[in-house]
Amino acid sequence: MPQPSELRDTEPLNGYQLRVVREVLLALLAAEPSHGYQLRARLALALGPLAGALNDGQVYVTLNRLEKAGLVASERVGQADKPDRRVYELTPAGRHQVTDWLEDTSWPKPAPAEFHLKLVAAAAAGLADPVGIVNQQRRALLVGLAQAQRAALAEPDASVAALLLEGVVLRLQADLRWLEACARYWNKAKERR
């Protein structure tokens, strides 16, 4: 696997910018206290080639902000032959925020990366069943698709708005197809454990 640093110069795939590393970091910390480099490596593993979208300092800057917000706490730990490192752990307020995030079914608009990471993080932290999260998300999308489909059917023939609604329906269908793949993967992952 290429090191994330090698990908730094490649243009992140359009639309795959990561806006919400914040909650992902919190969720990863829910499993166990970690230091920045560990978190960075786990994110890179989960994202594969898309990790190029993540800049190196982002994890540290975000951890800093989370600490200021009282969502994580850190402690300096000494290491032989190496500089000290800072180990972060979740505060009760941080844990609360992770729970809210896992239950949120609003669909990330530009890319499925956030949702993907939510499943990875939930599984890693043992906080929630990824398949349960997939099913919950699926229900929310199906209800949305049903509404858009009904609205499309209610449009008269040759309506230009029906075209937009068809686009909405088809995108939701593609999302649902991907969720089906997510359910398959995480079901298998459960069996492997």
Binding site: N135, L145, A146, Q147, R150, V168, L172, A183
Partner: protein, 247 residues
């Protein structure tokens, strides 16, 4: 037994097995379903999940390995073949992906056929078929053979035929599987209209667009029901939000 007086169709712990020993396949594995009068239910799942087999069991076209099935207040599982065939004709309408129209009969004759088979007088059957063709918007295609109709028109004829005997339940298997987007829309509108008129519907499909017009969507995987979503009632987001136009 559970009280199923309010349901038109009630299946309990249905199972269908094929093969034996190591090659045993449970196509349908412990499925229970109750469909209320006037309700529209969609069963979705990837191909091979057992949804078509389930529809065949519900329609009495195949016998379950185990479980009970009630249709229009009658128990089906022990019913002799002749009685089952009569009940199917009277109480059920089928819509298939490949239409299954009789190629030698025109649209009107295809639609009146089930009524004639059920013993209706030719005049009654003709009247009913004429009304139904009008309902599906094909009154001007009555004399056409299926080969002269588009896929969407053929499926609308098949839907009209399914309604010929005023069935308690219409069972549809991938009704839009062979249709393009525009024809799919026509068929979806038709299903919506039937549902609004109080027709009980059970549709199996892998296409969420069809499923989206149902009251209830059940997800099937590996022969089992794994999830259920209510698509009508409850709090709903605005279409603007769904379309992502809310900023």
């Amino acid at each position: 037994m559970t009280d199923t007086s309010g349901s038109v169709l009630a299946a309990s712990a249905l199972r269908k097995e094929y093969g034996k020993g190591a090659a045993l396949v449970r196509a349908v594995d412990d499925v229970s379903l109750e469909v209320a009068q006037g309700e529209s239910v969609a069963i979705v799942g990837p191909s091979g999940c057992g949804k078509s087999t389930l529809l065949y069991l519900l329609g009495g076209l195949e016998r379950p390995t185990a479980g009970t099935l009630q249709l229009a207040q009658r128990q089906l599982e022990q019913m002799p073949e002749a009685g089952l065939a009569r009940l199917r004709r009277r109480a059920l309408g089928f819509v298939f992906q490949a239409f299954h129209l009789v190629d030698e009969l025109n649209a009107l004759e295809n639609v009146e056929l089930p009524a004639l088979l059920a013993g209706a007088s030719p005049r009654k059957a003709r009247e009913r078929a004429t009304d139904l063709l009008e309902q599906v918007g094909l009154e001007d295609r009555a004399e056409h053979l299926p080969s002269a109709l588009s896929g969407g028109q053929r499926q609308r004829v098949a839907i009209a035929r399914a309604l010929a005997n005023g069935p308690a339940v219409v069972l549809a298997d991938e009704p839009t599987g062979n249709l393009d987007s525009a024809a799919t829309t026509d068929v979806l509108r038709l299903f919506e209209q039937l549902h609004a008129d109080g027709q009980t519907l059970v549709v199996v499909t892998h296409d969420e667009r069809i499923a989206a017009t149902a009251d209830r969507l059940i997800t099937m995987r590996d022969g089992r029901f794994v999830d259920e979503t209510k698509l009508t009632g409850g709090t709903q987001r605005t279409v603007t939000e769904i379309a992502g136009l809310d900023g």
